[in-house]
C-alpha cells in the first residue's frame, strides 16, 4: 500500500500528536540536567522545577516595591494594545474591503495603492512612528494597525469580489441599492472571512506588539522579556513565552468558536 493511503487510527494519531511535544520537553530536560550537573549555577537552561517555581511566583507574588503582580499588569497592558490595534485594523479592513470590492471607482483608485502599501516593512517605519507619535501607547497601536491592515484590506476586498456575480444581480432585481447590497449581501458574507483573516494576522500582530514593547515601553509582556534578558533570567523569559503562546492559542480558539457560532451557514469553509 502506498504511504499516502496509509492513515493512522485514532489512538495512534493522538500518540503522534503528542510525540513532538514530549520530544521537545525531554530534550530540554536532558540538556538542562547535563548543564546543571556541570555547573549548578547555570542560568541558560533552568530546571523545569525552577521554571515552575518562578511561574508560580510571577503569577501570584507582587513586585517588592509596588506590590503589584507585574505579570497580570503586563498581560492587561499588552492585550489592551493588541485588542485596540487589531480592532482598528479589522474595522478599517472591513470598510475598505467592502468599498474596494463593491465600487469600481474606489477599486480603480485604491487597490494599487494598498498593494504597494502592504509591501512596506512595518518594522522599518517603527522609528518614524516613535518620532511622530512619541513613545506612548499610540505608536505601539499604530504599528499593529499599519502592520496588518493592508493584508486585511486585500483579503477582504478579494473576498467581496469573489461573491458570485449572480448574487449581486439577484439583489439588484429585488430592488436593492448599493448600500443595501453592501449591508445585506456582502457584509454578512465576509464576516466569517474577517474572523478568519484576523486569526491569521494575530501572529504578525503579536510580533509587532512585542517588537514595539521591546524597544520603548515600561510595561507589557514584550518589555518584560527584553528587560530580564539583561539578567539572563531564562526562567522568567520562558514563563512569559509559554504564557504568550497560551494566550495566542486561547484567542485563536475563541475566534474560531465565535465564527462557528455566529455564522453556522458558512459551514466547512472555516
Amino acid at each position: 500500500m502506498r504511504l499516502i493511503n496509509r492513515k493512522p487510527g485514532r489512538p495512534l494519531a493522538l500518540f503522534l500528536m503528542l510525540v513532538p511535544f514530549v520530544a521537545v520537553i525531554v530534550a530540554y530536560m536532558v540538556g538542562s540536567d547535563m548543564r546543571l550537573s556541570v555547573n549548578p549555577a547555570d542560568k541558560l537552561l533552568p530546571a523545569p522545577s525552577t521554571i515552575a517555581d518562578t511561574a508560580a511566583r510571577l503569577f501570584t507574588e507582587g513586585d517588592r516595591r509596588t506590590g503589584r503582580v507585574l505579570l497580570w499588569y503586563d498581560t492587561a497592558v499588552s492585550l489592551r494594545r493588541l485588542g485596540i490595534g487589531v480592532g482598528i485594523a479589522a474595522l478599517s479592513g472591513l470598510v475598505f474591503g467592502l468599498l474596494i470590492g463593491l465600487l469600481p471607482h474606489v477599486r480603480a483608485g485604491l487597490a494599487g495603492f494598498v498593494a504597494v502599501l502592504s509591501m512596506v516593512p512595518p518594522l522599518a517605519i517603527l522609528p518614524i512612528l516613535f518620532i511622530v507619535f512619541g513613545l506612548g501607547e499610540t505608536s505601539k497601536i499604530v504599528l499593529i494597525v499599519i502592520g496588518i491592515t493592508p493584508f486585511l484590506i486585500r483579503d477582504l476586498s478579494q473576498r467581496v469580489i469573489d461573491i458570485p456575480r449572480e448574487q449581486i444581480v439577484k439583489a439588484e432585481t429585488l430592488g436593492a441599492s448599493s448600500l443595501v447590497i453592501a449591508l445585506r449581501v456582502a457584509l454578512p458574507q465576509i464576516m466569517p472571512r474577517l474572523i478568519q483573516a484576523v486569526r491569521l494576522s494575530l501572529g504578525p500582530a503579536w510580533l509587532f506588539l512585542i517588537a514595539a514593547e521591546a524597544i520603548a515601553s515600561d510595561l507589557g509582556l514584550g518589555y518584560r522579556i527584553f528587560l530580564v534578558r539583561r539578567y539572563l533570567a531564562m526562567d522568567v523569559i520562558l514563563t512569559y513565552v509559554l504564557w504568550i503562546t497560551l494566550l495566542a492559542f486561547l484567542i485563536d480558539l475563541v475566534l474560531r468558536w465565535l465564527s462557528r457560532r455566529l455564522y453556522p451557514w458558512a459551514g466547512a469553509g472555516l
Binding site: 458570485p164 449572480e166 448574487q167 444581480v169 439577484k170 439583489a171 439588484e172 432585481t173 429585488l174 430592488g175 436593492a176 441599492s177 448600500l179 443595501v180 449591508l183 445585506r184 449581501v185 454578512p188 458574507q189 455564522y263 453556522p264 451557514w265 458558512a266 459551514g267
Partner: protein, 255 residues
C-alpha cells in the same frame, strides 16, 4: 400588443460580434424558450434582457418604457446556481424580496411581521414551509431552485428570466420542477424567458421557442459573425408544426 420589444440588437465584445440583427416582439404572458448551441449568444441575449449588459446597438423595451440601464425590480431572474443568498434562512430569502427595497434593507415592527407571514405563505405554496428556518446549503438542488423562483416572484417582476434554471438538476427533479413551473404559469400571467440546453424542455414549457444560431459562417474565421434568431416557433400549434420560419431571411445558403 407587443409587451417586450427587441429592436435590431447588436452586441460585440471588443471586435468580436456575438449577436447581430436580433428582433423580437413578445406578447404579455408568453413563455419564451430560448435554445441554441453553446456560444451562440443565448445567455448574452438573456443578460441584455436583464439589463446586466447594454447592447452595442439597438434597444429593448418592456411595455414601452425607456431601455433600462441596470437590473431592477421589473426584471426577475433565476440563474443555474448562486441564485439564493447562502447567509440567510429560507424564510429570510423570501422576506429579502420585500426588505431590499428599504434604505438599509431591513423591515421593522408590523411591516416585518406582515412580510414574514406572507413569506411563510409563499413557502407553503412552493412546498418549502417545513424548511423555513434552514439555510439554503441544507436544501437539495431542486428545493434551492424552487426557493429562487419563489424569491424572484415575490418581487412581482414584469418579466421573469430563467438562465438554464434546471441545468444542474437530476432528471427526476427536473420533471418535478417542470410541473411546478407550469402550475405557476397557469396561476399568473407572467412573461417568462427561459434559456435551456434541453430542446424537449423548451418545447414542453414554452409557448414560443426561439433558436439562436449563426446565419453566416466563415470557415476560416468562426468568430467573424454573430448569432441571431433563426427559428421562431409557436409550440402551442403542434398541428401546423413550425409556424414562423426565419430561415428564408436569415440562413445563408451556399450558392
Amino acid at each position: 400588443m407587443s409587451f417586450v420589444t427587441v429592436r435590431n440588437i447588436f452586441q460585440s465584445y471588443g471586435t468580436r460580434p456575438i449577436l447581430e440583427r436580433v428582433n423580437l416582439d413578445v406578447a404579455e404572458g408568453t413563455f419564451v424558450s430560448i435554445v441554441g448551441a453553446s456560444g451562440c449568444g443565448k445567455s448574452t441575449f438573456l443578460r441584455l434582457l436583464l439589463a446586466e449588459e447594454r447592447p452595442t446597438r439597438g434597444e429593448i423595451r418592456i411595455d414601452g418604457a425607456p431601455p433600462a440601464l441596470e437590473p431592477g425590480r421589473e426584471r426577475g431572474v433565476v440563474f443555474q446556481r448562486y441564485s439564493v443568498f447562502p447567509h440567510m434562512t429560507v424564510l429570510d430569502n423570501i422576506v429579502a424580496a420585500d426588505a431590499f427595497t428599504r434604505r438599509f434593507g431591513l423591515l421593522f415592527g408590523a411591516e416585518r411581521r406582515a412580510a414574514r407571514a406572507r413569506a411563510a405563505e409563499t413557502l407553503d405554496r412552493i412546498g418549502l414551509g417545513h424548511m423555513a428556518e434552514a439555510y439554503p446549503a441544507a436544501l437539495s438542488g431542486g428545493m434551492q431552485q424552487r426557493l429562487a423562483i419563489g424569491q424572484a416572484l415575490t418581487a412581482r417582476p414584469r418579466i421573469l428570466l430563467l438562465d438554464e434554471p434546471f441545468g444542474a438538476l437530476d432528471p427526476g427533479t427536473r420533471l418535478a420542477m417542470h410541473d411546478f413551473l407550469l402550475e405557476l404559469k397557469a396561476g399568473t400571467n407572467m412573461t417568462v424567458f427561459m434559456v435551456t440546453h434541453d430542446i424537449e424542455e423548451g418545447f414542453k414549457l414554452g409557448d414560443r421557442l426561439i433558436v439562436f444560431d449563426k446565419p453566416r459562417w466563415d470557415p476560416t474565421d468562426p468568430n467573424a459573425y454573430g448569432a441571431t434568431i433563426t427559428y421562431d416557433l409557436d409550440t402551442r400549434r403542434r398541428d401546423e408544426g413550425i409556424q414562423t420560419l426565419l430561415e428564408e431571411t436569415n440562413v445563408h445558403r451556399p450558392a
